[in-house]
Amino acid sequence: MLKRGSNPLWRFPGVAPTALIVFAYLYLPIFILIAYSFNENRLATIWTGFTFDWYGVVLNNPDIMRAARNSLIVASSATFMATLSAIIAGLCMTRDSFRGQQGVNAIMALPLIVPEIVTAVATLLFFVIIGMKLGLMTVIIAHTVFCIPFAYLPIRARLQGMDPRLEEAAADLYADPWRTFRRVTLPLLWPGILSGAMLAFIISLDTFVITYFVAGAGATTLPVYIFGMIRIGITPEVNAVSALMLLVSIAFVTLSFLIGRIQR
């Protein structure tokens, strides 16, 4: 897998051990988390035996299931709206040139730089000022806005890499603007949309700080619920929920990867 000698970096001593340490640092905790989700013992730190029980407990806990449902509703809605906005923004930004375009691009990318806590406080203030009641809706709106730049980047990259002659060729062959979009632009843009949506979905599923601030009663998502559980103590239940979330993420990434392969 790693071909020694093909990359001059390998010639430095200690590169391979360092790489191993970094990987261990990144993934060992996750492996331990998953392993302990199968631990029989109520105390998460002492291993006594293997069991699937905690998954059963999780799936039978109505609060966790409600939080999971909320997370999926929020992530799906936010992904849909953020991706749609990102597509429209991408088309405007690459198909036309106008004054201040650079500025608009910078503003689009700004949420990536602004500390999440600032966004969270600002969003909360905004909802309070306009008098909107905190709930699932406010979470969806906040996530949508937060996810737009993540969806936008791959879509714009794909649009910029697209040969503008292809759309001209479609128009030249009597396709009106809508059919040019449907038959040429959209199919070619598809891989970008897919990775944009995937990013948005995972970001939304995972975002804690913003959600914590703008979620009202009954709008608790999984990360917020897990945070609440941890305050009581780390239990195998927490491990099991986390492992399930990881599973969903991996499934989602694999799926979009496979769809991307078929598209090509």
């Binding site: 040969d163 292809l166 060729a169 030249d172 199919p187």
Partner: protein
């Protein structure tokens, strides 16, 4: 003047200005031209002279900054590209990568709402026409450059447009394939009767394929005419220089005689010619002489010259001469069977030019 019904495309004082980062670029500057129905019309000129811009205006991808553009006598500047009876073969082919070859070729017909069976049949016929039978199910990226080029051609021709625009379609092909495609295109044009507007920067390609050529430079059309007219009677220094090799001589129209004129050259000596190019007696003129229209000999009455270099080309030999310090002159001599060069480097010779071979340039 051509009557309106003969003109497929007419440009009147057509101008296109781009706002580049370094200021305005005048890609087309008051271009007047008429492209007749059913002709093979070529736009010829060096890179950057505005050929592509003119095609893009006709196709509707760009809007003119000034002037008029007529198709079949109708102003079309307002019409979007998908409502113009024109198809384009792009320089980069622009085949749809996510469609098969057959889907690419049938795209235009599909957009026009033709029935499925008809599209299938037409696609088959088009692929046969460009010698790509059986390639329908393939993807464009599975084809060679030459094959992609022919798919692009088939895709444009399938719609039987009134006008076909071709933007340097052969420039990416290797020499042999290019020669084949030149003949093929010419055949397709005369068989279908579609008006071809062909863009090239290759003067030989233009001369061999076209009914008429417009020579462009810097956003202007300098001369329009048949290949023979353009080659034999260039009106400007640029055209004379750009099309084929040419010798330029400067001098003065010194004398008018009963049936001919006499030019006094700056390099010394007199030349007898037939046309005055609209100049008064005594006016300064630039003369153009094709290398194959001049002869050299050891003695006689021609212009005095010295042989600087002799280059052997197989079919012919080029003699690089100098009339004086500032004036080079090339004579091309066709080699007859077995004859070796009769002259040697450094030799003093005489150049004779027949009066009908002398062109007086406008500028």
């Amino acid at each position: 003047m051509e009557s309106v019904s003969e003109a497929a495309i007419e440009a009147r004082r057509l101008t296109k200005v781009f706002d580049g980062p370094g200021g305005e670029v005048r890609a087309l500057d008051n271009v007047d031209l008429i492209i007749r129905k059913n002709e093979f019309f070529t736009l010829l000129g060096p890179s950057g002279c505005g050929k592509t811009t003119l095609l893009r205006l006709v196709a509707g991808f760009e809007q003119p900054s000034g002037g008029e553009l007529l198709m079949d006598g109708e102003a079309i500047a307002e019409r979007p590209p998908h409502r113009r009876p024109v198809n384009t073969v792009f320089q980069s082919y622009a085949l749809f990568p996510h469609m098969t070859v057959a889907e690419n070729v049938g795209f235009g017909l599909e957009m026009m709402g033709r029935p499925r069976e008809e599209i299938g049949q037409r696609v088959e016929r088009m692929l046969a026409l460009v010698k790509l039978e059986g390639m329908g199910p393939r993807r464009p990226n599975q084809l060679s450059g030459g094959q992609q080029q022919r798919v692009a051609l088939a895709r444009a021709l399938a719609n039987q447009p009134k006008v076909l625009l071709l933007d340097e379609p052969l420039s990416a092909l290797d020499f042999k394939l290019r020669k084949e495609m030149q003949i093929e295109l010419k055949r397709l044009q005369s068989e279908t009767g579609i008006t071809f507007v062909f863009v090239t920067h290759d003067q030989e390609e233009a001369l061999t394929m076209s009914d008429r050529i417009a020579v462009m430079s810097d956003g202007n059309v300098l001369q329009i005419g048949s290949p023979t007219e353009i080659y034999e009677h260039p009106t400007s220094r640029f055209v004379a220089d750009f099309i084929g090799e040419t010798n330029l001589l400067t001098g003065r129209l010194s004398e008018r005689m009963a049936s001919s004129l006499r030019f006094e050259l700056d390099s010394g000596g007199l030349l007898e010619g037939q046309e005055d190019g609209g100049n008064e007696t005594g006016a300064r003129v630039t003369l153009a002489v094709r290398p194959e229209r001049a002869e050299i000999s050891r003695e006689g009455s021609g212009l005095a010259a010295r042989i600087e270099q002799i280059v052997y080309f197989g079919t012919d030999t080029h003699y690089h001469l100098r009339l004086d310090e500032q004036t080079p002159f090339v004579v091309r001599h066709q080699n007859r069977s077995g004859a070796t060069s009769r002259f040697s480097q450094g030799e003093e010779v005489r150049v004779t030019i027949s009066p009908d071979a002398i062109r007086v340039l406008q500028d």
